[in-house]
Amino acid sequence: MRNNLQKLRVFLLFSALMVASVLAANAQTREVTGTVLDGTLKDPLPGVSVVVKGTTRGTVTDLDGNFRLSVQSGDEALVFSFVGFETYEVAIGNQSTFNIELDEDIQSLQEAVVIGYGTQDKKEITSAVTSVGREDFNRGNFTNPAQLLQGKVAGLSVTRPGGNPNALPEVRLRGISSFGANQSPLYVIDGVIGGTIDMVDPNDIETIDVLKDASAGAIYGTRGAAGVILITTKKGSSKAGFANVQVNTFGTYEQATNLIPVLSPEEFVARGGVDFGSRTDWRDEVTQSPINATTNVTLSGGFENTNYSASVNYRNNDGIVKGTNRETLNTRFNLNHGALNNRLRFNVNLFLNNTDATDVNGEAVRYATIYNPTAPIFENGEENVNDQFGGYFQRPLFDFYNPVAMINQQQFNTQVKTAVMAYRVEYDITDKITVSGQYTQDRLNTLRGASFSRQDFQVGFGRLGQAEQETFDRFTSIVTGTIRYEDEIFDGMNFTLLLGGESQMFNERGFTAASTRFLQDQGWNNLGAGGLRLGPGTEMSSFANRAVLNSAFARANFNYRNIYFLSASVRSETYSGFGSDNQTGYFPAVSLGADLSQALDMGIFNQFKIRGSFGIAGQRPQEPTLALAIFQNGNRIPLDPDNPNSVFVGINQTTNPNPQLKWETTTEYNFGLDYGIFNGKVTGTMDYWRRNVADLLFNTFIGRGVPNPFLPGAFNRVDNTWANVADFESSGFEFLASVNNIQLGSVSWTPSVNFTIYQRPKITSLGAGGIQLPELRAGVPGAPGQNNNPIVWNRLGERIGDFYGPRTLGVTEGGELINTTNNPDDFERLGNALPTGDFGFSNTFIYGSWDLNFLLRGSWGHMIYNSFRGFYENADGASTTWNSVITNNTPTSPLVTSTPTFSDLYLERGDFLRLDNLQIGYNVASRSNNISNFRLYAGVQNLFTITQFSGVDPEVRWTDSADDNNPLAPGIERRNTYFLPRIWQLGLTISIK
């Protein structure tokens, strides 16, 4: 006991001494703390070395990027360094907290660019590939990933006229790529081919690589002929035990803008319009200013040899037209595991996407603009379920439907479930040889419902209600195997060889049922309540098809001392849907480049890489059975008219078989330059390309009754046959330049400009089965009155998308238009619907914790037919029924009284400049160890547009939405174009450990 007390005394004494000495030491040194973040991702950086300059005293950051270090009074600066990041030095001064962001070291990092079936160091790329990282994406409320790139990539056009949340953008790489085959690029998400781009949420994307030329896309064969867009999602960290949760959430407020001006009720009546005695602003009645919310949560982390990321995205967007909504729940899971010292790698990728889209009849937008402004919404001021039209005001006039009633009495809903499952195994047999196998299932299930109330005047009224339900399932199975060999085959010459095989099976099934005559409205959930199941408005049908595409491919890459590069590939494809002699196509590509700055002294240039490429890609038709003679359904035939049980459905060939159907091929040459000046301060690329598309697939008029030119002994049953009908050639020039971090005082500015100049596609051959056709006409304006004159004539030897019609020379005093001719034989070319150029100018400003991004974007050279003017601006007889539009381009003295017929009067220049999106962000310094990033931001989309076009949206129209997206009728703004919104956004991002 005594002994113990003695020990205690000694201990206390010793402790007191210790405390005293520490206190004494403290007078000379002090402790500083801080956090180190990845400057781009705002993620904590563990393991960063923090050293007092000129000493060996230092520490490393912990898992959360935090550090704690003692400094002495003479210490000048701290040096932060980490592999792959630029070393950063900061003066100590009196500061005690250091929140440091390290920037990636662009010089030292190999920038991996995703190419087909692999990645390549950016400097080795010899074809036209553009890579856009997350920091360069458009900022705003984008429901579709393609919109992140709008205006960012030269040669890539992303358009979505109007603002329907359910409308998908049209994506075109280097303009028109086909007539009747697939027009939009192939999407490859984390190495998983196909599916829809919808299946990945914009929030989840790390980088997007755009393979623009045929030499890059050729490795994907037929599915890549319209270009390839490779999407890489955010990945988990491989750092052991590291986990991160990022939450991004924002709200938006949307308002309708740019409504086409119409006459006020008073002006309408003054012009002779029928006065129903009320005053209604119909567009006020059908639009709303919705507040929408989007939330994204990403969870990522890793253990030893394993990393994962999972994300959930929820978007719920009401449109600016009442009754339109899109709700999406998107889930993604990615798991990587390396075994046997990471030589055997497993990867599982799952995407699940549920979308619930509620829409209205697009015609409601048209009626909201031109419905009689003196008509009331309700006949007697309110809804009345006992009235034949539910109390709504309706009149039996031609093409005259109350838009509010239409929105409320017609329902459309589409539920889409997408599931993509990809499983991948890779194994390094040796350090030089890697084999891999992948199996992908891509499933799309669509369930669509439509119902028309008994009181809906347009459809339901005469049939006592109509309802339908439709399913459409698509299921694609892909098996891929590759072997990759990498070696330095002699001094300085690196060689990579890829061999692969791929087999794809496409399955589609659908089922539709519809009935009419309901005792009471029941929507599409009780089709059995419909008393009529035969005849107009009813349906009972199903279909299925299946096609197989087998491929083998090889690619060799050579890199000599990082100066000279060569890539060559070939892919063979065999498609079941062609005639048996034409099933296989071979699609080669070769590209080469030299970085002269590595071989010569190029002065200010730190990179000067010239490259050239050539490639051929193939396209297949969208339906697999066009080569075959197939009997489909005809009329119902009672064999014995007196016996109701003798009915059969007749059989007819409803297509003309074409066993000579073969691959459409795209041959493309590309010459490019990648440059860097002043040590990478200025970077950019230039590309010139020329494209020849041959044997274009299209459903072309051959004529009924004549011997089938492709199948002797058969006779055409229908006018049109799917055939290889045309060739065209087009070319373009693409330019991109960025200046990194221009310092304007304490503001850093990174501007980036890109533009594209298009040579519009010229038709060099037209015809099929030994027949030369002079032209293909398309684009009928429509009812009322303009049902029979296509306005876009695609003529042999001329450009695609030429408008033809009479020219308006003037107006008589009485308001009659004086046109050059009424005879279609004398119509002349009035302009072209395709653009001659696109540009984008994006800007990033950083000031302390503040940042500002905006994009100015535009297109020029394209004409647009303004359908609203083409039908509704003349003060003709019909203008007593419908309201008239009165735009900047409407002639008013005198008013035109002629019956509306197409002429150049209604064609307008579509050139525009738009402040597409703008966002201001503020990074709040975090005091919590658990919060690594806290960012607040606010933005706006479509702030203003400068254009002469007087319609809804001057955006390029690549296809005709009213004609099954026909690419041969571009440039028509249809009257059901959804109103254009301006979107205000407020959001925050927070990263939690």
Binding site: T480, Q653, G703, P707, F715, G785, P824
Partner: protein
């Protein structure tokens, strides 16, 4: 070490096997529809295929439908017009041009008419290639093909003769050769056809009717009249055939007209099973939806010319073929109101008047009498159930009368004309001339698609009438449609176009 190596090899070969064994079969499967080679040939199948070929005669947009062969027969004649009401029915001017005989090769309805006829030709030829060994079927298909060529020779004149043995591009044949081809097709095959009154298919009698139509128009088609041959063939139908006039004129046109003793060859239109008969939609005013409780709003297009309306005597029961006067809702009391009153002197209450103020651009929406010949069932859909009579016995009688009159045999001619007039409750004629005969055909055959052909045969087609000037004789056949000429560069455009 050895074990690891073995694992490596096993994994590698496994992956290779996985990637190479997974090629699917490349034979294109057909999951919807029946590939030709998989058809199981039974009597029932052959019957269904035959009826499916007839289906190409009653397709939408043909007889009784808009924008095709029927439309150009009617609108180019003095029976009907489609007046333009502002933007409504302007349609690029095609209906005005059709009325004024200034149509162009590019105008769609002529292309549709051509395609319709050649659709029948293609369908019949496909069946002839497929089943060459069934004589009854082959004979019937050749006669059906001849019917299509009757319409072709009448409308387009010089057309390619495409038979089951044709290959490649077939040049046009002059009208005389087309005439000979039709004549030969009938004469060689007519005896194989049934003499039963099958109505919805061709038989021995209706094959004769095709031949009679051909002979009656022989002078137009070839320059050589064949009146006696026409009369001889018509006599076969009259003396040996199973047909008679229905006591009630309108019994031929009611919703359930399948058993009329007068209808010889009809298109079995059906609102549920076989759509395409849309005359009520084409003709009636939007507001008449309430009159008939129609499932869809009518289009307010086809209206009769005033002069044509006036060619009926008041007591003529056939005058009911045209709807005139105030229109009521289905209760028969409440007037139909046209709210966007456009200045029509009748005011907003819907009244059909025989007079049409102008053809274009601002015809009153209520102007002109409408096609009321075919019964419109209460609650009808856009497709009527009435069967459309292509050949009708009353036509046989009038043709017989004409053939006799052309040969100077007025007594016989009057006898047959008056059979038809008696049924219509109008006094017998005592004299006949071209005007009275043509007018009688007009009253009897209104809206049945023969008027254009009749006007040409009587030499009246080029004469002026309301809102139409004198037209050139080359207008007696239509141009080869622009699409067709473009797709077949060996074709010659008809003279004058």
């Amino acid at each position: 070490m050895k074990i690891i190596k073995n694992i490596k090899i096993a994994l590698a070969s496994g992956l290779l096997l996985f990637s190479t064994s997974a090629c699917w079969e490349l034979e294109q499967e057909v999951l919807t529809g029946i590939p030709q080679e998989n058809l199981i040939i039974t009597d029932e199948l052959i019957e269904v295929l035959k009826q499916s070929a007839y289906g190409s005669v009653s397709v939408g947009g043909s007889w009784g439908g808009h924008d095709g062969i029927y439309a150009v027969q009617e609108v180019s004649s003095d029976e009907m017009a489609i007046p333009q009401k502002g933007a409504d029915w302007e349609d690029g001017g095609i209906w005005l041009r059709t009325h004024r005989h200034t149509w162009l090769a590019v105008d769609g309805p002529y292309n549709n008419a051509w395609g319709y006829c050649f659709g029948i030709v293609g369908e019949t030829n496909n069946l002839l290639v497929q089943f060459p060994d069934i004589p009854e079927l082959a004979a019937e298909m050749k006669i059906l093909r001849a019917l299509a060529y009757l319409w072709l020779i009448d409308n387009f004149g010089n057309v390619p003769i495409i038979t089951e043995t044709s290959l490649g591009s077939i040049p046009q044949s002059p009208r005389e050769e087309v005439f000979a081809f039709i004549e030969e097709s009938i004469l060689e095959n007519v005896d194989v056809l049934t003499r039963d009154n099958v109505r919805i298919n061709l038989n021995y009698w209706t094959a004769h009717m095709i031949l009679a139509k051909l002979y009656l128009n022989a002078e137009v088609y070839t320059g050589n009249a064949r009146w006696a041959d026409a009369e001889r063939i018509l006599d076969v139908i009259i003396n040996e055939g199973p047909y008679s006039l229905a006591p009630n004129f309108f019994a031929n046109f009611v919703t359930n007209n399948a058993n009329s003793p007068e209808n010889m060859f009809t298109l079995p239109y059906d609102s549920n099973n076989n759509g395409g008969f849309n005359i009520h939609q084409m003709s009636f005013h939007y507001g008449n939806q309430q009159t008939f409780e129609l499932q869809e709003q009518p289009w307010n297009g086809y209206a009769a010319l005033e002069e044509f309306y006036n060619s009926f005597d008041d007591g003529d029961v056939r005058k009911g073929s045209l709807r005139e006067g105030p229109q009521f809702q289905s209760d028969g009391i409440t007037p139909v109101i046209d709210d966007a009153y456009d200045g029509d002197p009748d005011g907003p209450e819907l009244v059909f008047t025989p007079q049409i103020n102008e053809l274009a651009p601002n015809a009153f929406r209520q102007a002109g009498t409408r096609v009321n010949k075919f019964e419109i069932q209460l609650g009808a859909g856009p497709d009527l159930n009435n069967d459309f009579p292509v050949f009708r016995y009353a036509d046989v009688l009038l043709m017989k009368a004409e053939a006799a009159w052309r040969q100077g045999n007025n007594a016989v001619a009057l006898q047959f004309v008056n059979q038809v007039r008696e049924r219509a409750n109008v006094p017998n004629l005592t004299t006949l001339d071209a005007n009275t005969l043509l007018a009688e055909r007009g009253r009897e055959m209104f809206a049945e698609g023969w008027r254009r052909s009749d006007l040409i045969r009587f030499g009246r087609f080029n004469q002026p009438w309301w809102e139409k000037g004198t037209s050139q004789p080359f207008r007696n056949i239509f141009p080869i449609p622009l699409n067709v000429i473009q797709a077949n560069p060996i074709y010659q455009q008809n003279p004058g176009y």
